[in-house]
Every structure is written in structure tokens, then in C-alpha cells.
Symmetry: D3
């Protein structure tokens, strides 16, 4: 939908935001650099967008970007919600910390803005969001969280170097094999999303910038 | 399922393979380094596995690796099939070429073996699979395919450097905005899958090695 | 002064800040990982600290970190003020943009927090600060500012590759030889400061986090 | 000889190969991107080529590429045969494993194809050749072979970082000082050959692709 | 001053040098690639230049390069002299060794020539200067000096990876917290100077080349 | 021979050198970190060593390092002499410039010292040797020599990225196909030698340091 149909899509959320000028002026209306008009949403996806509006006050731009093809949107939403919201040995905050540390390695503007806000909100600790986005090594983390992020960032930077010793380090930090899967799957997912966002110059909703500062 | 239940899962496909010794001896039975016993598959996923057996003669190990959680398996299958098999301006072979060139950058054993076989099979040109896995720059490609792979590999290596000029190069090579999305989405997907595979030491079905040589 | 004397030094500024908990809880009291007690400031430096308190409401932690040695503090302040505040063909905002883009390459927590706040404040454009800290290539910049940051970041990443053509690109973007010096000098200065900050685990004043959001 | 004279040179080997179409169609006739017609071979080199035909069924293209200058060809053959075939504490398979792991780091199409085939043939273990070419870290190797390849690949990637501790690790794995020389010399040789091949776009004989699969 | 006024500035030193032809022919007259005519020096800076002439026989070109602006020159001289000449737990030779090892990582021609000469002169050991410029890891250093250079070069290459363990290694090697500051500050300073020199194509006085060989 | 037999081998050359203390004190007696006693030289190699003594005043340590095995020594000498001394479109100085620029990328102490001296001697231009060893991009080179070194260093750093356009750039600079081979072969050879030297901690004869300064 990107360029065409953004007035509608951005509608309700925009009301809650201060008027945005400057660097992000158009970010709520021109969502990507590709001209892919939104398809009519399936009933499920329309309901999901409505739920976003209700709970967040806006539809995240990544969803609008996928809205040119309902099948792709549905697949993305299903995978995202399973990874980030379904039961896991990792807390939702921990999964968002992985998202931001991975996105920092990949210098992905969209994901750093959107998921940095999530870390600030879920943690109630605004500097933690900054630390994840700037250099997670400078954060005062528990040994568990440090091991988790070291694995996720090594997996991002040099996946070919992950070996048994890396998995053993996670186990020593208290993670189960299922937890290791989840760390890998979340890190992997953002390695995908970072690249879709960078490839399309995806812009984050401007409302994120001031959240939970 | 990985370690426990592999006898069943690998069953039918194994019959078609020569007995495998040496480097890959256990690859058909111990699929990942994580101990995640297979869940009972949902009827949809059971049907999908049956279809793999019927069409391929085996269930790809990546599916068995995900079988510890039906929701994750279903989300993976939905996204994979949409990206690799649904209608697109990119041919199935082109999508597999992206898969292998990305996996070569990430040096992912599982994906290079499985998708290298796919390039050989779909192209009927065994050396093309080797070229994608070894150095796509050495292949004699059309300008279109070269531009496609240059974008996919740059997006893999340095996603933060993708800019308007990179998208313009794709458009000059004849790609539509929808094609650009698909190139990005396939490249992104294998940046995810490569990392899940490397994080878990996923092993490719040994049957792939001799396919279409 | 770092560990010992921080109660005094952080005093006045702290009043303007919300109580900080979480990731940055101690950042206003334990400024570096080195135990270097503050020396008695020279009258000039004492006056300078008083001026910081008056104008900013706090003394930036980098100054407190240097306060263990008045000569080093004075040399740092003299160079900093000349580079960032003296007349130049570069605006103060442009110099801060260089500071942040360089610090982003070097992933320096202190400088990203402190100078990210400066970009937000000087520009009145909060997302611009985020863009400089996350990926300056994603910002919508003038050709002049883009050329300036491309030079500064290349000089940071691969100084050995700067050649006549790089200087020519700056001249084509309208910069004078004196401007080129200033771009180089500011980029160079933050390559120094980033390393002093990272070497000592310097922590930014917590007050920066919420400024100009 | 490259472009001109390939019909003769490729002669006998070609009979044993299926007609090659697609990616490697011309690889047996246009061996490099340089136009360097073959010189008349010295009697020693002519005999050596004849021996290749007899034993392998073809003359490896690298030899044909050097045939424009008999002195260069003879020097190359002398060094190659000493390193790869003369008595050594390293088995011939181990030397080929080093060749492929080094060539994988350097992404050299010629050497990966030719020496990958050698690993498959000497080991009787086709996946071992793939593992060396794709990511040797994913192979199930003995501690000895892993130490050998770790040294060879570090020496390839960052020769300036090799120090006493690296040699000590080889000694702990059971290697003598002479073995260490041989590991270094083989790794060094392929760092040379990879570059001559890449610089000239050298193409591997198509017969290699299907060998020992 | 660079291009214009070099006859004067280079004057006295030039008498002591052999006529320089070849690669460095113009290095004593065209000091940088920027056209920044020298300002009239302040009395303090004029006295400092005179002292250089008296003690060294020439004014180092870096000072002439800064002479277009007395304030910048004075700030540079103040910081340089404090770091390299003021009392410190690091000897002057050790500080010069850091200067050269950092400049080697950054491949800075000016600093390698000028400070390589300083290492040769201060140590009375010409090969030590070469080792610092070529690969400090190949030098036979004390554990203390090796730890010092490892920290300085890691801080240069990957400042974001410096953590408590790196500081602990320095403490184990006998360095105080003040020494750690000094190592960081000298390494930081040359990361600045290397970049100013590379950005401006600064040329070293030709007299350095033959010093203390 | 390395450790054992160095007194003899270093004999004559040592007379011309000042006594060496400090960093390189033992470099003329302990040539590598491996204990590989010299074999009795073949008559040809003995004659070659004698010729070195006569013409250079010493036997280069690399030859002594290879002397543990006459076949390896002879193969090395044959290839070296063909590449560096036989007729070529590249002058001997140009071949030495490639040797040093490649060795600078690989930070090889042995080769930088030995071949840096060769560049100084052959060119009669001492700073040219320094420029090749420090950053060839800072040298004032002809377009021909710059193109030659750009190719050689790219081939060293990223051989997988060499393509037709790189060869075309050499042709535009006036190089023939045979010249391109020679550039590649010399660059390749030093990529081998750098690694053998680094793997064995090979030390350069101390006499090189003061040559042609």
C-alpha cells in the first residue's frame, strides 16, 4: 500500500501523535520506497489491523507494507506473533532485547525505532532501549541475558562460526534446548525483517519516537 | 523431534538413498544438536509431510526440525511455500538461485546442500548449482540474474548500505517493484533460515548430495 | 573523579532529572570503570564547570571523567570548544551530526547518548538524532550533508582509503578547503573521544535520555 | 593456451564426459579470460601431460593455463607435486582437505571444483567434500584434522595473527614441526593458486563435477 | 600554510636533509592537499616553532599543517605535549610504540614515518620501529608491553568490544588505572591524528626517513 | 636449518652489518619458530647459496628456512627466480612493488623488511619503499603503477571479487594479457610466501634494515 493509501491506514494512530516535521515528516504516509498498493485485506487481517488500532492506537508500518498481498501479510503475522508473543522460556522483553541487538548489528532504522520503543515500554527502563540499540555490551545485564545476546549477535554477524561450544554456553547460563531454539528463531527472524526493511527503505511510524522516554 | 524419533520420519525417503557412511553418516537420524522431540503433527502438517514423502521421497530435515511445535512448523511452511512456490515475477529457479547465493555468503551447510540440489534439478545444469554455492560472480549470468544476485548478496552482507541506487539498478535490469519485494523477501528468508540452521547445527538429508549431478 | 566524588559533581543537574532506575541507575555516580579521584580544579576549570551547571543544569560526565588531571581537562576543553563551537563553515548542528554518525560507526554509548541529544535539540527534529545514531544513510539529507557524512564515516571506517577523489566530492558539494579540514577534525576528534569513552566505560548523564524527544 | 588451442588439449578427457551445456558449457575450451596461446611443451612437460591423460583421462585446466610458458609450468608442477604428493606426515587426503578449506575461504571456483572432487575421491565420502567446500566447521572431524584446518584457515584469513600459541595448538594435536611446515606450505600454496585462478577467471574441467558423487 | 608558505617554514630543517627526489620529492614543500595558508603565529606558537627548529632541526609538518589557525594549533600542541611528554606511568618510548602500532592499523603514512623514527631514536633499536609499523605481534615484547599494545590496537579496531576483561588484563600486567587512562588517551589521540593526516594527505618531513636507521 | 646451523649460514653477511641488539637480536641465528635442521644442500643449491653470499653478502633467511628439504628449496627458488627475475613486461622494481604492497596487506614482517629493502635499492628512492609498506595509496604513482597495485591488493584482499572489469582496467592502463598474468602470479606468490613466513615466524636478516635508507 505504501505510497497510495496511507491516509486511511495511518488514520487513527496519527491522532495520538504530535505533528511530525523534519527527518520523519513523511514516514507515516510514504512507508516504503516501493509502489505496492494495498490489497483489500482478508477479514482476518482486517480484524487484526483493527485490533492494532485499538490496542496500540495505530497499525505498525511493517504491516501496512505487507498489505499489498494478504497471503504474505498473514504469513508474516503468524510467524511474528508466534515468535514474539507465544509462550516461551524467554520473556517478551528478552525477545525484544534480541530484536534490538540484532537490528543494531544490521543498523536497521525501522526495527531499531519500533522495537527500541518496545524495550523501553516493556522494561520501564528507557536507557535499556538505548543500550540495546547502541551497544548491548555496555549494558549491565545478568549473565543469562548477556549470554543470550552474545549468541544472538554472533549468530547475526558470523553464523558460520556457531558451534557446540556456543550452545553449551547458553546451557551453562540456564537455557533449555527449547530456549536455544527460541533465541535462534527470534534472532533469525529479525535478520529477515531487517533486510526486508532495509531493502524497501521501510519507515517507522513516527509515534514510536517519543514512546516511553 | 530431531534426536529421538528420526527412524519414523526418515523412513520412506531413506529407502531411496544409498547407505550413507562417513561425514554425513548420522545426518538422517540426528537432525539438529538440540533435543526437541517431535510433537504429534496437526492433520494439516501430517498431510503435508505425507505429500513430501510422495513427491520427494523424503521429508526435508528442516521440516522435521520444526516438528517439535506444530504452530512454528505451520508458520514456517506457510511462509516458505508462499515465497518459493507462489506466483511471482521471479521464476522458481531464480528464487532458488537467491537462496543458494545468500546461503553461500552465510556458509550454511544445510541450505547449501538442500537448495544447491534444487538449483541443479530445476536448471538441469549441475555446474550452475556449484557456481551459486561457490562464487556466483564466476557464473555466466544474464544481466537480469546478475543484478538480482548482486542485490540479494549485498542485502545479506551489508543491509545498511542498500539505498535508492540499488533499487534503481534492479529496475534498470527489468524488475518491477513487486519483483524487488520478492528478491528482498527471499533473500531475507534465507538470512533467517541460514541462522536457524547454523544455530542448531541442522543436517541436510543425505539424499540431496547425489541429486542431479 | 569518577567513583569517589560524584555526589557533588552530579548535584545540581540531578535535580532536574527524574530519578533514574534500571539500566542507567548508577550512571550519574559511577562515571567510568577507572578509579581516578577528581583533582582540585584550576580556577578556569572550576569556572567552566559552573558555567555548565548554569547553562545545561549539569556538568557533562566526560568533563568529570577528565577532572582527575586539570591539564588534561583543560586541553580537552580547549580542543572541544574550538572544534564544536568556534566559527566554521559547518553549522553547530552539522558538527553534531558528524559526531553522532562517527560515534554510531564506533558504537560508543556515551557519545551517542550525549551528542544524539544535541542533534535533537539543535535541529528541533527528534527523529534526526535517531537517524544519525542508527543509520545516517536512511536520513533524507541534502546533498551537502550527505557528502559530509559519507566523508566522515569513510574516514572513520577506512582512513587509509581517503584520496583526492574523496576531497573532490566534498568540493563538488560546496565545501571549501577549510570546511574539509573542519569535517576531518571533528570526525577525528570523535574517533578519539569514542575510544577514550569505550576504554573507560564512560557513562552518559542520565538527563540526556529524555531531552528533546 | 587458453582460448586458442583447447580442442586438442581437452581431447581425451572430453570423451569421458557427458556433453556439458549450461553454466559450464565452455569451461573445457576457454580456460581463462587471458589470451595466452600455449607454447610448445618441453619434452618433460609433454610427458607429464601425457601421464595426466593416461591416469586421469584429462589434463587439468590449470596445467593448460600455465602452458603458455614452459618454465612457469615446470615450476608450478614441481612445487605442486612436492607439496601434494611427496612423503609428508599429512596424508594426501589431509592435504586436499586443506586445499578445499582454504579455497572455500577465498571462494575460488576452480580450486573448489577440482580439489573438492579430490576430497570426494580420496575419502570415498562425498559429503566430506561438500563440507570442506561449504563450511569445514560443520564437519565431524577428529581433533587432529580440526586443529589442522583451523590453523590453515586462520593463516588464510588473518596471517598476521598467527603466533606461538597457534603453533602450540598444532603440537598439542600431535603435529611435528615438519608437519606444521607442511600445513603452512599447502595452505600458502592454495592462497597463491586461488589468486592466480581468480585473477584469470580459470575454469575447471567439467569432468570434475560428477566425480565420486 | 601548507602549499603557500612552505619555503620559510621548512627552511632550517631542510639544510640538514639530503636533497630528496622521488616519492617524497615535494613532501617538505606541499604538506597537505588543502590550500590553507599559514596565519601569523601567536608569540607562544612562534616560540614553539623556534624551539622545534633548535631541538629537532626542523618543524614537524603536522604543526605547519595546523598553522593556518593559531587556536587550533595551540590546542593540538597542548594536548600532544601533555599526552606524549608529561609525566606518566608509561615511558615516552611506550607512548611512541602505541602511536606507531595504532598508526599501523590505520595505515597512516604521516604518523608511521614520523613516529616510527621516534621509536627508533628513543629505543636505539631500529628494527623495533619497523616491527611496530609492520606487525607489533611479531616483536619480542615484554608481557607488559604486549598487553599495552593489544589493548591499544583492539581499542583502535573494535572500540565497542572493550570491556572489563580488557581492563583487567592491563591490571594483571601491572598497569594502574591512571596508566590505563594514558594508554587509552594516547591510542585515542592517534586515532584522531591518523584521520586528520589521511583526510588531508599530510606528508611527513623527508628528514625522518633516514633517522636512527 | 633454522635453529641449529645458523652460525655458518649467516656468516659472511653478518660481517657487513653492525652488531644487532634489541628487537632483532636473534633474527640472524634463530630464523623460524620451527626446529627443522638443515639438510645437506644439493650441489645446485649449494652453488646458489654461494652465489647469494657473493652477490648480496648473505643468504636470505627464507632460503635457509627452506634448507631442511632440498626439493622444497629448489622448487621455491625456481618459482621465485622465474617470477621476480625472468623477462616480463613488468620491471623488477614493479614486481618488488607488488611484493611489498601485498605483504603490507598481509602485515608480513619478513617480506616487508626484505622486499622493502629491494624497492629502496632498485628505485634509489627510499621513501618509495616506505610508501609501499605503509600505504601504497599515499604514493605518487603513475596511472600504470597505481592500476597494477590496485589489482594486486584487491586480488589479495578479496580474490573472489576480481572480474572482467578488473582485467579491463589493467588493459586500459596499458598492460597486456601476459602482463596481467605476471601481476597475478607475483601477487599470488607473495600471498603464499607471506603465509609461510607468518606461519613459521620467519625473521628477516638484520642486514636489510639499514639498506638503501
Amino acid at each position: 500500500m505504501a505510497k497510495r493509501d496511507s491516509k486511511n491506514a495511518a488514520g487513527k494512530g496519527a491522532r495520538k501523535t504530535l505533528p511530525c516535521t523534519g527527518a520523519a515528516a513523511a514516514d507515516d504516509t510514504v512507508i516504503t520506497a516501493l509502489d505496492l498498493p494495498a490489497q483489500k485485506l482478508s477479514p482476518e487481517m482486517a480484524a487484526y489491523f483493527a485490533k492494532c488500532e485499538e490496542k496500540l492506537g495505530f497499525v505498525p508500518n511493517v504491516l501496512k507494507a505487507y498489505a499489498f498481498d494478504t497471503a504474505k501479510l498473514a504469513a508474516f503475522v503468524a510467524m511474528y506473533n508466534d515468535l514474539m508473543l507465544a509462550p516461551s522460556g524467554l520473556s517478551k522483553l528478552e525477545r525484544e532485547m534480541i530484536a534490538v541487538a540484532v537490528s543494531a548489528h544490521n543498523r536497521c532504522y525501522y526495527c531499531l525505532v519500533a522495537h527500541g520503543a518496545a524495550v523501553r515500554t516493556l522494561s520501564g527502563d528507557p536507557p535499556l532501549g538505548e543500550l540495546m540499540a547502541m551497544n548491548y555490551r555496555a549494558a549491565r545485564l545478568s549473565a543469562r541475558q548477556r549470554a543470550m545476546l552474545d549468541f544472538a549477535v554472533k549468530l547475526t554477524a558470523e553464523p558460520w562460526r556457531i558451534e557446540d561450544e556456543d550452545r553449551a554456553a547458553l546451557r551453562r547460563a540456564g537455557f533449555s534446548d527449547r530456549d536455544i531454539w527460541d533465541i535462534a528463531a527470534v534472532a533469525g527472524f529479525f535478520n529477515m525483517s531487517n533486510r526486508v526493511a532495509s531493502a524497501t527503505d521501510m519507515r517507522p511510524n513516527s509515534v514510536y519516537h517519543a514512546q516511553a522516554r
